[in-house]
Symmetry: C3
Subunit: 470 residues, 3 copies
């Protein structure tokens, strides 16, 4: 028996509990949600792909180059990023890169990356054997051929994926030209931007002052003053909202918030803008800006997302040689309970404000996040993020959050991905794991089956639509 020959890449019962009564329940729940449309309220796909609708060039450029989940694992095992042509504008020898990837595919055993890739290989490209050194060329040729056909253009795939709405993540000074182009094209897809102000809010961001000046020009505000800067942000948010944006996103090193008197905030802004702020003052400025953003959200209704606790660009060598977002961001312990207090003292009881909290530190789920979200009207818990967007991570999240926060203080799933082809796979994993969790509750007689069906639909579709106002 040749296992490669016999391996069906996708089993219909994957990720369901092995125990037969629970598996039956999981199947029944999953049948109800499997075909619901995808709502993708937060992610990092490029509007330009859909604006231009050009074919993806080759398997290596499509799957390997943009996916730091893949190349970080290869790098951890001694594969050179140069050999993978990471950071190159165009891959010169995509087949060679693909073979290198295929020869290390065993590294992904037990990881979500493997699940996502097998899903795409199987459902989109009809592959039936496992990727391996032996099947590398077969994969490369089959995928390459399909990518040249109209059915594999970005818009065709978008339609095929049954996406109801897709949000990108954009700089506050982005022209949103690609979003406009999509609208103007007459294509009916709903692709909306999200307002990510980090470049003009985080003093450690490269080009911070220049971006603020640029935002001033775009909005006609004098961003050298605190008041003008805030006005410019209000106008930039309005410009995003006009293009369909319903949310903001904030990627800070910590969850620290602050609520300074206006004069102090203004003085801090001057210092930060002038590049004279200490590291502590920079942190205080970010903290203050979370509270300012909450205030603006109370006014304009944009849903606020906070993604705290990632030490960005931890690997100095990789950062200096290859730049940002190269798989070297590492989580750090986060305190939400004290950090969020200044913001919550001010806006925590606003019923019309929604703040979605994300986490990379699982010890906070049962200790801080579920208790906070199970009390404050404005707080909701985002799905497990990044390293935890995985079968075990999602299951732990439900186990740790549900008993205190319930299901209805969570907001469904975010794929949060740069890898467009992984979107259906990621939503499928999330739906399956939620069904598996619910099936256990039903099998252990902790939830009635009719309720589980309703919850499954809410987790897959209803909650995200409501929380993100989509």
């Amino acid at each position: 028996m040749n296992p490669v020959m016999n391996s069906a890449l996708l089993d219909p019962d994957r990720l369901f509990p092995a125990e037969s009564s629970s598996r039956q329940i999981a199947r029944s729940l999953y049948r109800e949600v499997a075909d619901l449309p995808i709502i993708s309220p937060h992610g990092h796909t490029q509007a330009g792909w859909f604006a231009r609708n050009e074919p993806f060039p080759d398997p290596a450029t499509l799957f390997v180059q943009p996916d730091h989940y893949i190349f970080r694992m290869l790098y951890s095992q001694g594969v050179s990023m140069d050999d993978l042509e990471i950071g190159q504008p165009v891959i010169r020898d995509p087949r060679k890169v693909w073979r290198l990837f295929a020869s290390h595919y065993y590294l992904f055993r037990g990881t979500p990356t493997r699940v996502w890739l097998d899903f795409a290989f199987s459902t989109l490209f009809g592959m039936e054997k496992r990727l391996s050194p032996e099947t590398a060329d077969e994969y490369f040729d089959a995928i390459s051929e399909k990518l040249r056909t109209p059915e594999y253009l970005p818009r065709a795939l978008y339609d095929r994926f049954h996406i109801e709405v897709l949000s990108t993540t954009d700089s506050p000074v982005d022209s949103l030209a690609d979003h406009k182009a999509i609208r103007d094209s007459g294509w009916k897809a709903r692709i909306v931007p999200a307002f990510r102000p980090d470049p003009v809010v985080d003093p450690e961001f490269a080009g911070f002052a220049e971006r603020i000046a640029q935002m001033g020009q775009q909005t006609g505000e004098d961003t050298s003053t605190w008041k003008g800067y805030l006005n410019a942000l209000v106008k930039a948010r309005a410009r995003f909202k006009a293009m369909g944006c319903t949310s903001t996103d904030h990627g800070h090193p910590s969850a620290q918030t602050a609520d300074l008197p206006e004069a102090e905030a203004a003085a801090l802004f001057s210092k930060v803008l002038g590049g004279k702020a200490s590291l502590q003052e920079q942190e205080l400025f970010r903290a203050q800006m979370l509270t300012e953003m909450a205030r603006m959200s109370v006014e304009d209704g944009l849903v606020m997302q906070i993604h705290p606790g990632s030490v960005r660009n931890h690997n100095k060598f990789v950062y200096e040689r290859y730049g940002r977002d190269m798989g070297a961001d590492i989580p750090r312990a986060v305190n939400y309970v004290d950090a969020l207090r200044p913001l919550l003292d001010r806006f925590g009881n606003e019923r019309d404000l929604t703040i979605v909290l994300f986490m990379l530190d699982e010890s906070t789920i049962s200790r801080e996040l579920a208790p906070l979200a199970g009390h404050y009207p404005c707080l909701r818990l985002g799905p497990p993020w990044w390293f935890h967007d995985s079968p075990e991570g999602m299951m732990r999240f439900r186990e740790l959050a549900t008993e205190t926060a319930g299901f209805y203080n969570t907001v469904g799933f975010n794929d949060d991905t740069r890898a467009f082809l992984s979107i259906p796979a990621r939503h499928d994993v999330a739906r399956r794991i939620d069904c598996a969790f619910l099936a256990r509750l039903v099998a252990e007689r902790r939830l009635d089956e009719d309720e589980a069906h309703e919850v499954a639909r809410d987790l897959a579709y209803g909650l995200v639509k409501k929380a993100y106002k989509l």
Copy 2:
């Protein structure tokens, strides 16, 4: 099929593993412990209920108003605490409150609150359909009717619950008049106080100095001096002990202990009493008092309970409008290993001292608590507290604590509740989860079945009786 019609609220196999061999073992273990008497060594019921033995007025006053687990969840989803009449001395429109609660009952899916409530609704009030907007009035009427009958008076329920001993939690200046009244009434129930000195030990407690002065008057000691203050505490403890008290309880923001030289402690007391202590000195005073309390416990034999790590009254608006204990206490990360050292250096090896440690920070269970309790003779681990007093939380506790501390450094179950009617439900959940955990050990051949039976009885009855000297 109308699911509401078909929902039996209580399945006999609830909370047992779905896998059939494990479930058989769990059933067999549970049969042995299901009817053991309840020992409730720590909780927040009111002795006055039993002293006066008056009927509970209505379903909303009984179930909704005193239970912050319920109204915090409703509040988190935008229900107004005013609409729930929280904080009102008497609920004016209990049916309206009840309907509001019923219409949000779906929020409790997957939470322990749901399990406890369904247990009470089913076993006490004979309800067979799920609580919902449709059944709200049916519930209200059925419960109201029963509450007017003698079988639903506090003492009748106490007897029906098969409680062997019940501890309340009381201020050190409490007259214990209700406890005396119960004793004097000739009713044979064993209801005892626990000594909770926070009001005279925690400088942040409202009325701190006044309560100390009051304690001085009660005991005939000059509590303006360190020595007189300590003497007063010794006498107050003795007064509690004479009323059957076997334990003290300490709810501090952290687990910090200290062991200052006497002169320093006396000076700190003066400063604290005079209201001139900094936040740090207030923390140091609490820390010192834990060690003083341990010393007194070595002398008078009272079991010491420490409940650290809760940030009380986190929501400023709710605290200012509705007061303490309104569902807005949020856990914070706790360090036990360094914090307890001063106390343990002094009394850690006392074999006749028992200190029961509680936790809200689950990351400490395997890292600090089980290693500490698996070594120091005086330490025992309390059951999962508050947000973790739940099926998943209890199971995690056993999984994280047992391999290092064993079963015999734990102390059975505490219901720790203000909700009298939830007591049998809570003990039932604890017994079922312990049986489920033991069943897995037996099914995985890690424990012999005869041993599991012995352990199940110890966890349900033997250990708590021994640890709390009841």
Copy 3:
């Protein structure tokens, strides 16, 4: 039915999942790895046992006295360490100690100690009834008798255990005379030392300066200077390497590393050596030495192990009366992400360097360790250490680490034990739990069965051999 009579100590399916399809897969995986040779790359057995090959004196001296897992549990329940004759050079009344142990054997229910002991009792001594007060003498006599036979001499047991290589852990000033004696004896076993420089690297170690001076004499270097000290370490490492050593080991209170300019490091060394360094400076010196050790590893190829986060000798009374390593080491929260950065900035991208990270703080597995090991080429994750070297701990480790770091950034199993007779039991538990984890992945269709077989072999044998260059 007498349960003692009916208890078979070892079930062939122990530690496998109860669910039948998963159990079948686990059995099949285990069959393949059960008889693989044992590679023990890190532990605390004594080379002297094998050099002298003298019989173990009696059951108490063999099982109870050296095993702090056992006596810490007994101590936690009030058994006196004096009654156990802990710390005595020779046990005067081993039968009395054994009976005391047997009468408390129930304390180990649900602990790994119980699993390890039952394994040894059953497989080595043929015991069939459970150890208890009733069977204590039967055990004592049967074991005593066997220990007097040639089959139970250290070398005979070593051969019987099917050990391919065993590493001890040794002071850098150890003469390694026992290792030489083993080599010279002609016995073919591969027993190698590991270089543990704590006594000459950690200023808090008793006799720090004396040991450094001794190292100077052994190596002919002037260890009063920074340069001479470093040279002496290089030479000491070379001496170990010549005796087969392939790894170093570092047991620090934290994971802190530093990369000071040479002049600063030299000045710090002088201060530390002169006994004039503050606690902070002592920590900084340890931090600097980790980076120095990494540099030496890049040069000489020794694999570096870091065991951080244990508060040693937490119990003052026990330390003062009985000394080090008496079961009173307690873990503390550890930050790896910031602490390792100075070292990683310098050597993190070295493909030929291997640093094996261990942990006692499980909250770091998914938050810090798996993300770090899933990126940096030099990092690997050691197996769960100490309190976590247990069925639940191992399972949690796989669940928390695999999705981000995969299997191939882990290094197989370390028994890390002082208890020679527990070695086969510990490896057996590790193999069973890994098979149980893999079986779940297969049963949930997350891994193909042929791949699981390959991974099982790698986890039991291949990875450890490769990571430790054995």
